[in-house]
Subunit: 360 residues, 4 copies
């Protein structure tokens, strides 16, 4: 049992608080002999990094990763890989005013009740700052996955809805995604989202988002029923990301509008390969990958730190009002995109190792 | 790592195939001294038992549970509790015709590709028959929970949508739920659901369902961030149930239509207790229970075994057609209700033990 | 965390009490496609079975194993394998007289204090009867190991000391071991041991034993430092066997009489293979197999159930005397031999799977 | 599964190589609200620190620990506690000469074969340098244990044999132990050990040692049968320490010289407490603490790095000779003492938390 670890054969553990000296992670079970390119890991971190556009928080963090162990002469050694990022811009004074008040929608109240203390400096351990280390660990998993799959498996993710604006154009342009500040899969909706976010930002409010993840070329057979199903582990992974309130695979909740006749994916064999007529299942049957694209979506709620005044209580259970002035994201879902990719990389890599161990 | 186990301090392992001799489970980590009433466990199993109404499968199973260990003189001893149910009506001849064909929407294909064999007799291990043992294990967890919480914690669940018919009347009548064949929370929609199911049954088709679970009086502080969050573990649990394709907490996916001003739950202190103005969060903040009702919903897809002919392939990758004649549920989601309750009981009981261990 | 489970990728869980209805185990993570020969498993159980000679307990148990799941058409399916043995000769009346007294040297007192109950019928869960299921699980691991290693890995074990009679003749005759009632590695000492045991048996006393295990042809590289070292896991495994009080590898405790010059194993390369000049290390360096024979020894204490009267207390903490009349082993160490083999098979098979998963 | 982690509810993970930039650990599952005194942790590290007397290695390491997370305002917060020690004196040039040769008795060969690489700089991950972090993690566990047990539980350890010189005087003076360079339990043998070590040091040789650990005032009921027995977990822990080749509890291997009449511990109740007439069992019955002192011993082999020339092979499997010139311990067992204490603290604290969770 490891509260702050994720994974099975491949496992990582994160540590560190939003406004502590540093954050870090240890990746264990990572095979030896994998080329580790620190610059590549940094490019993944840079995608999540705050302060990059006017659509995200203005907190400035270089998020420069340092590898302290487990890599020798450019390759993994089989020993645990320790990575660290020093917190550079942790202006904790921003938070002094709300030191004794629980921010509604944040974890202040539950952390305080559970641990009998809380780190008022930006949420401490409950802050999404922790997700930087998920990205670092996920980047390592990605390097492993590339090696195992000979670069075939590809995991991409995009925002498909911000507020009530859902993208209708289904084009999924992998090259475009990382080149626009919203991780939009195509440019059809950029203007609307820009307006929406700037308006909410000005009003001191924030927006939710729906994010889609796609895994292509995942081999058939990944996932370990009954309790380590691929969708089950992915759900656990994604639901552990801050502010995520739901996840669905394939046609998801909309499947309730289908019936047994049109809601499952027929199969045929053509051109020497298995084809499915549709992908209601999201690439997973019985908890095992089917070879189709694995597709899932998750909802990131609007961040609760807004400038309008709200009712709350103090640590002494007195009624009070709160306005949070910290630097926050008008649409935190955007920055969840690289985190979701990282988690997915980690889950898939872990399952591939397990699958490999059993293939006699 | 335990592919067929679930839980942490409290853990269960299931075994057995749909058409094997028996199915069973072992519950480990169960504290000593808890009164174990076998009849009570049986009543929980009876709620899930097939063949009880014309709205579920006609397979007849007595599902009579036998306790083989871990209980002495009516109380748990602290030793592992082994439970077994013999399969009585496993007419495997029903399946002989489809022995070499993969049923679309079922796990036949992926199991075959993963394990290089498959149990054509009703899906073998991938069958929802396994969930009977979840109900048995969950009933034990419920007995433990009742003891720990002095009967305060209550977990209830109901179907809130079948096909495109969502219940609008929000009344949640716990006493009514187990007394109607749909686990409906109130009687407002019974007639519509009845018609819908009987029509689909006649057409040899099937329907999906949305199920809601509510936990009341859960103490504040349950859940272990960052990677054993309460919602994360519940998602893992629920997503491991056959045919579930999505889960959401509180306002869930609909939160994308809220903003930072109206999408979080304000707090005040009145009448000597903490009150939240709303429950968008579904009773969980930062992965920890807040003391509000824990509320989540999940979608169970329409079962894929229908009488209409579908395209599929054989084990030798030849194109063919399939019509499944087995006895199946016109709305399998109905029978998922007691399973979801069982998993929720197990998750909460496990977390309460963990929480207890750290409370100095 | 699994109190009643052992293993990692390959895992088994045991359940059942000495005088309950049955005992059993579930083996999870077992790869698909391995031929499972129930008769072979039974031959392993027969080696441990009580009542086979005048040198072991007279309790009669057929120990007939039944496989309830996970095997289809003679091969493992990848699903959990459930095995059960019904207790046939559990004459609990033997124990009625000592119902309220703690047997010195047994776990009665500690079980009672920990669980606030105890199963006076032969020790309940703490009885060595549980080890029958280890033998069954170990036999499965052995079948897997044979398949993976193409029959090369061989695990043998023999008694090398009973009471103060240590065998001096170092001959290790694998074929002879299972053909004598003491699992002696050669016949040099049989007469002495026979006399010793019969004398102690007549006096109502018992004897301890030292057992040696040898693994030959284990590939180099098995074991996962730092905390899943091969010797560390083997120690955990062996020390969990009833009545074992110590374990040592290679030269073991006697290494304190060597120095840095003569206490390590020099290496050379001859005839196209690595040779070690000696085997002080017992085939393990840094927690990883070196390719040499893995050699370890463990001590099984004299069983504490003897006919002489001893001081003890009752469940109400009153001083009393006790004489145990149950049918017990004059040298329980003998019957530990197949158990130690089983655990070793399980540990090695588990590590081979892990190693395989990381070999890119 | 966590190759580089130890523990269950309370868990730590270590990382770092002997001659890397730093070593560190993350302690997870540590309860909130425990006062954390960094200076105390440092005093524990100082006991293990190299270069303190002429009887240990001359490598100079300040071993200054830094806490990076999980502690706020002097108390644990419930978040993972990350600790780091920078390697200051890692003169890797010492090792350049033996870069391509496997040191006999070290893990060079097995690491190379397993991971296809090895860190010739002092053994990399296989170096006992890793044990510094065990001491740091163990010190945290000790602080927790003191809090839970209200300072009652005490864990002490001493060297009882160096080379063939075993201490005969049984006095166990806790205050004396940490004040002599050998961790001897009394002064009776100091002169002999001093001579022995200095002689071996001069000859470029080294000595083995036997170490005893004693836990007093451990409550009855700690340990989780069948596979998380207290002695089983302690064995796993201790056997994972570098150079340990055996462990025994209570009378240990010598129990083979006892019989069922005199080899078990009779019980009586006097002066309102349970008394055992002897302690052959080492304070553990059936894997559960009995309330007696927990006593065990382990053997640390003579370190293999000696100045005499030995046969070995190169990475290319050519025969060669080796003389290791690094700065090594003439009796590395001495420095194992604080490590064994740390592991024992960790095991006991972990089990106390588990026990607490089940005590209804």
């Amino acid at each position: 049992m490891s509260h702050n670890s994720f994974g099975n054969l491949l496992k990582y553990t994160t540590w560190g608080e939003s406004h502590g000296e540093a954050i870090g992670c240890v990746v264990d079970g990572f095979p030896a002999g994998i080329p580790i390119n620190k610059k590549y890991i940094q490019t993944r971190l840079d995608l999540r990094k705050p302060g990059q556009s006017k659509f995200t928080t203005q907190r400035k963090e270089k998020d420069e990763v340092n590898i302290l162990s487990g890599v020798f002469n450019g390759k993994s050694t089989g020993a645990p890989i320790s990575m660290i990022i020093y917190n550079s811009d942790h202006r904790s004074k921003d938070y002094s005013e709300i030191k004794n008040k629980f921010r509604p929608g944040h974890a202040d109240y539950t952390y305080f009740m559970k641990y009998k203390n809380y780190d008022y400096r930006g949420g401490g351990r409950s802050s999404a700052r922790e997700t930087a280390m998920r990205v670092a660990a996920g980047a390592l998993a990605e390097l492993l996955l590339k090696k195992i799959s000979k670069n075939k498996i590809n995991i991409s993710s995009a925002v498909i809805q911000i507020g009530n604006e859902r993208i209708e154009n289904k084009t999924w342009n992998i090259n475009f995604i990382n080149k626009n500040p919203f991780f939009s899969p195509n440019k059809s909706i950029l203007k609307k989202w820009e307006d929406l976010i700037l308006t909410h930002r000005k009003n001191g409010s924030s927006l939710g988002a729906v994010i889609e993840v796609r895994v292509s070329n995942c081999p058939v057979g990944i996932g370990e029923p009954i309790y380590q199903k691929l969708d089950s582990e992915l759900s656990k992974a994604i639901m552990s990301i801050n502010a995520v309130k739901g996840i669905e695979f394939g046609t998801g909740f909309d499947l309730v509008n289908y019936d047994g006749t049109n809601g499952s994916d027929q199969i045929n064999f053509n051109n020497n390969k298995i084809n499915f007529h549709s992908n209601h299942a999201g690439g997973i049957l019985g908890g095992i990958s089917s070879g189709q694209d694995i597709i899932f979506r998750y909802i990131v709620k609007p961040t609760s730190s807004v400038l309008s005044e709200k009712n709350t209580i103090t640590k002494n259970f007195k009624n009070t009002k709160i306005k949070t002035k910290g630097r926050h994201d008008p649409c935190v879902g955007i920055r969840a995109v690289p985190v979701g990719i990282a988690m997915t990389n980690f889950v898939i890599a872990d399952f591939l190792l397990i699958h490999k161990s059993k293939s006699l």
